[in-house]
Symmetry: C2
Subunit: 350 residues, 2 copies
């Protein structure tokens, strides 16, 4: 059977109406919405065809029609009009982004919050490394006899630091030497390799050097660990309950679990794709089978990509979400691009 222009039009109207009201769409409504030129009987014939073709579903005989996942897919790929945001909406996003923030984790977390509040669905947000992270550089700063600060910079120019306490006293003079040792032998390698290398040095160094060294390395490998298990932030879970499809606890519960306790199984975007829409059963994740996900990525520096996604019912407003999400992702890319690594910089103090 051929998908005529009129069928496409009908599918589009059905989808948009259903997105709007969450009620199955009737032939009567369609006849009107399509201009009143054709009768509901004709529409019914078309609907029957579309149902045969798998684009529509009926919750039960004698209910209206609802788009199937296949229908949504066609809608998203071919029928959906790509919205552009209104001035007001871009302003809203821009002002949300204009706050000054430096630390990467905060930026990521906040981005999720903003998106969630803008699209009114739960959102998630993460940063993923393009390649594996290693330590690029170490600095050690003296504090007192038993403490010093370790500062490490990873590939991707993220800087982390921590106060370390050492039961054996460390004189400030020793620190530069230790730092040298670290920089020359413990950069560019994995946490495991660091551990091995450290062991091999165990015999050659006195305890007064070995101990602070091992502390610093322990810290460094913790930093690597933490950036490897890329942290996912989620927000706006409560928005789920606004949706009629999640009035049913059991459905909502599964998704909630995903959003709170198994965040790390949320869909990740393949590299080189800037946005992806996953509809219902297209999701690998069992818990997302009755939901849809829109996920976009943005660039952070050379070695990292940010990920930001929205979770909603299959009935979610794809056009609106996609438009907002892609604008948001682009803005973030620009923002990070400004100085090749960091969030917006204002040269004035507020």
């Amino acid at each position: 059977m051929k998908l005529t222009e009129r069928k496409r039009k009908i599918l589009k109207v059905v989808t948009e109406r259903y997105i709007d009201t969450a009620d199955p769409v009737s032939s009567k409504f369609l006849a009107q919405a399509m201009g009143g030129k054709i009768s509901s009987a004709t529409i019914r014939n078309e609907l029957a065809d579309l149902t045969d073709m798998g684009y529509l579903e009926q919750p039960h005989t004698s209910a209206g029609r609802v788009p199937s996942p296949k229908g949504y897919r066609l809608y998203v790929n071919e029928l959906m009009e790509h919205k552009t945001l209104s001035q007001q909406e871009t302003d809203q996003i821009n002002s949300a982004l204009s706050g000054k923030m430096r630390e990467l984790d905060s930026v990521i977390a906040q981005a999720g919050q903003m998106v969630s509040s803008i699209v009114s669905y739960p959102a998630y947000s993460a940063a993923v490394e393009k390649s594996s992270v290693t330590i690029q550089r170490y600095d050690l700063l003296p504090v007192d006899a038993n403490s010093f600060i370790a500062v490490v910079m990873t590939t991707g120019s993220r800087v982390k630091s921590q106060l370390l306490h050492c039961s054996i006293a460390v004189t400030p003079d020793e620190l530069p030497a230790l730092a040298n040792l670290l920089n020359s032998h413990f950069t560019g390698i994995s946490g495991q390799e660091m551990g091995q290398k450290l062991m091999s040095l165990a015999g050659q160094l006195g305890a007064e050097l070995f101990m602070p060294l091992s502390l610093a390395i322990e810290y460094a490998s913790e930093v690597l660990d933490r950036s490897a298990q890329n942290q996912v932030f989620t927000t706006g879970q409560a928005q789920l309950f606004q949706q009629p499809e999640f009035q049913d606890l059991s459905k909502a519960n599964e998704l909630m679990g995903l959003l709170t306790d198994q965040k790390d199984t949320l869909p990740v975007l393949d590299e080189n794709t800037s946005m992806q829409i996953l509809i219902g059963p297209e999701n690998v994740n069992e818990a997302l089978r009755d939901a849809s996900v829109v996920v976009a990525s943005y660039d952070i520096g050379d070695n990292m990509r940010g990920l930001i996604g929205v979770v909603g019912p299959t009935r979610m407003d794809y056009a609106a979400v996609a438009a907002r999400l892609s604008y948001f992702a682009e803005s973030l890319t620009k923002m990070f691009g400004k100085n090749n690594q960091l969030p917006p910089k204002e040269d004035t103090i507020p």
Copy 2:
């Protein structure tokens, strides 16, 4: 009317039974549970008294009895037997805590997760400053012509650092002088004061010094800001739905909102109290009126306190939660106490 020993016993049994089954407790059950020596009719008389006194409630005539908030309060204050954890349970907690972790935020967040999974209710976790935080010390590390690393240490010995980019070149020789300036004039004061002081210096310094300085200060005040708005982590929200009282969406929804989007309004413990139980209407927060909160605190270094709380139905198992939470809090205090500021330290590399 007097609260006889028998009445207390009955209240205790009612409460524990109700905590266990979530079903109103009948006189028949009580007669059996109390040893079968007295008849259900007698129990009914006693129940009527307890209801008059406000310790029990009836969902409707001809249902069994349920503890009122006042009843729970009495139970918690006087009737509850303080559990001690089994070997297995302490082992579980200890092994959960034994993972090595240094960064404060991660420790806090993880603590919440552990507690939530141990008690099977949603949990929240935060760190609060005992007094206002200021910067104690600055270090600046050269990176390249236009970048340097700023390292700041706050009161309470938390160290934060960030790579900063400056559009005007900064020579490495200038950094120590800048750091001196920062350490002598910009320590021990609030973010606002820093801003003012910076302004007053604006005229006296050339742009090549002023600009990196202002970047560093901007970063420092951001650090202060962030630690002022003490971040609250929540986990295990999905556990709410396991509870029969939150099968009703509207109840659950309100609580979910609190746990995801208004985390910062969750109850905070007064200083000097190590644990507190807030039952139903004792909560100031409207959304918590039908819920209970158990919150405990632990020490982190000199200037900080950790806070860890559990949110559940009023019917929550206070004895179990309180026991686990206080053990957990004590363990954390010990853990942080070890080196007066930091999480567990192992002198060996895994």
